[in-house]
């Protein structure tokens, strides 16, 4: 049963990261105050990080 809860927790975390990471990256880039490009770059980096995290989780579960 605990592995099911762990899966729910990890899957939820991976999914929510898709929302939070780009937003965090966007505001981090905006905080730098160098125009809009760092903000968008931060959002893209956040999205990439969330995607990478998801792939790692899926690879671990599939083993």
């Amino acid at each position: 049963m605990s592995s099911r809860y762990a899966l729910v927790a990890e899957g939820t975390q991976a999914g929510l990261l898709f929302l939070l990471a780009p937003v965090a990256g966007f505001f981090l880039g905006k905080w730098l105050g160098l125009g809009p490009i760092p903000a968008y770059a931060g959002a893209v980096l956040g999205l990439a990080a969330a995607f990478w995290n998801l792939l790692r989780l899926i690879a671990r579960i599939s083993k």
Partner: protein, 483 residues
């Protein structure tokens, strides 16, 4: 009560589809198993002919006259839209079934006839303007569906699916009918427009609300909303996969149509009583559907729980029907859902027809190397189901979430966004298996009929996502009771 010829002319699509089903039943006796593909294409022809007749009726019939046939039947733009979507889902189901049923040791003639009879029930459902006519049409759809669920009668899971569907469906129909009886007992009316105008006060109001809630419970069963969803995973898993694909789309869309019509036309004055309940049901359905899907490794059960979650999203449109976005959201979301969900199931059918059980996510391993177009279209469907732009699912969810916020349920819109994010995990699990896992097996090719179904679904998913303005302009005229 005397019905005019023009009233009966409005029934031409339903009558044609019924005739098609009866002809198929008769022909099935003479067509050998090896030639049953012919019956499948004949069924597609019947569906296309019905769509053409529907288009003629839509252009020729004066739709400003309101309900006809004793107030039982209405052909407004709302009903027309859903009729076309229902015919689309039946056509896609037949295309996806031709190879699948051909490979199975069961006769195909009755299968296609039952699909058409289910379609007749759904066409009458979306045109129902009287609670009794809606109920009778719903039962016609349901009875044919029960048989389709158990069509592979030699397989225990199929028989179990049919039995569970029948027992729980009959129970929910009983609850729905009891609700209808309470509504009639208090108001003395069955017509939706009459119900909206009938004053109800005092003790009668409490009974009316109870009747409305029981009616709602019966309808929530049909759309597989929590806590009336328990039949869905087992029925979806046990039924033949083309029928599972059909159940996940067709009857659910028809049930949403009557849910929207009943509560928009019949009970808008009671919004304060049923609004919060639908909000809570939507929230629980969203969360439970996505959490349960996270735990699944069986693809059919995963998509079943996914469809439960999508029932939760669509309820946001019912909640926000008094804003412009609510009804538009329901319409465009259900159209998008028809394409993307059926498309996803079509790829499961594709693997099953190529010898895979297609039950585990691992059956999708390396699909990109075995058939790249299939993997790419599956990715499009998964992205759309998750609500990622520029797909149809994103457009639909945008309108639904906006409707919820404008209706004063911002917390529900936020919860829906979070639930959509969580769904990325199990959708991407399939995508990762397709693109990043080792391929096992030779290259796979689909039959032309199944490929046509997948292409239609993929095109619909992308067109709605990339260029929604055209379809939205049409949908803005599709208000129930608006002629």
């Amino acid at each position: 009560m005397i019905f005019s010829t023009s009233d009966w002319a409005l029934l031409a699509p339903e009558l044609l589809l019924t005739a098609g089903g009866l002809i198929l039943l008769s022909l099935a006796v003479f067509v050998p198993k090896a030639k049953e593909e012919f019956l499948g294409f004949l069924t597609v022809l019947a569906v296309v002919a019905t769509a053409v007749v529907l288009a003629i009726v839509a252009v020729a019939a004066p739709r400003s006259q309101g309900p006809v046939l004793g107030g039982m039947f209405v052909l407004d733009n709302f009903a027309l839209f859903f009729k076309f979507v229902i015919l689309l889902t039946i056509g896609l189901t037949v295309l996806a079934s031709i190879t699948y049923v051909g490979q199975a040791p069961y006769p195909g003639g009755e299968y296609y006839a039952l699909l058409l009879f289910t379609g007749v029930g759904m066409l009458f459902m979306v045109s129902g303007s009287n609670l009794i006519s809606i109920y009778v049409a719903l039962e016609l759809m349901a009875l044919a569906s029960y048989v389709l669920a158990g069509y592979f009668k030699g397989e225990v899971r199929s028989t179990e699916a049919a039995l569970k569907y029948f027992i729980l469906g009959a129970f929910s129909s009983g609850v729905l009918l009891y609700g209808l009886s309470l509504v009639y007992g208090v108001s003395g009316k069955m017509g939706l427009s009459d119900l909206a105008q009938t004053p109800v006060t005092g003790d009668g109001r409490q009974l009316m609300v109870l009747g409305i809630l029981m009616l709602l419970a019966g309808l929530l069963f049909k759309i597989a909303a929590v806590p009336f969803h328990v039949w869905t995973p087992d029925v979806y898993e046990g039924s033949p996969t083309p029928i599972t694909a059909f159940f996940s789309v067709g009857p659910k869309i028809a049930a949403y149509a009557i849910l929207a019509r009943i509560f928009y036309v019949g009970f808008p004055r009671f919004y304060a009583d049923w609004g919060l309940i639908i909000a809570i049901v939507s929230a629980v359905t969203l969360v439970w559907g996505n959490v349960a899907a996270l735990l699944q490794t069986n693809v059919k059960r995963m998509l079943a729980y996914s469809s439960i979650a999508h029932a939760g999203y669509a309820l946001l449109g019912v909640l926000g029907f008094r804003t412009g976005y609510g009804l538009w959201g329901i319409l465009i979301y259900l159209l998008a859902y028809a394409f993307m969900n059926f498309g996803a199931f079509s790829l499961v059918i594709f693997l099953e027809t190529r010898g895979y059980a297609a039950e585990s996510v691992s059956d999708f391993n390396g699909l990109a190397r075995r058939n790249m177009p299939a993997a790419v279209t599956m990715l499009v469907f998964l992205l759309s189901l998750a609500g990622i732009p520029p797909t149809a699912g994103f457009i639909g969810k945008y309108y639904l979430f906006t409707a919820a916020m404008k209706a004063g349920y911002a917390w529900l819109a936020v919860l829906a966004v979070l639930a959509s994010a969580v769904s990325l995990f199990y959708y991407f699990r399939i995508a990762a298996a397709m693109f990043f896992s080792e391929a096992a097996g030779a290259r796979l090719r689909a039959s032309y009929a199944l490929a046509a179904a997948v292409i239609i679904c993929g095109a619909g998913t992308l067109i709605i996502g990339l260029a929604p303005e055209g379809i939205l302009a049409v949908l803005k005229n599709c208000v129930p009771g608006g002629y």
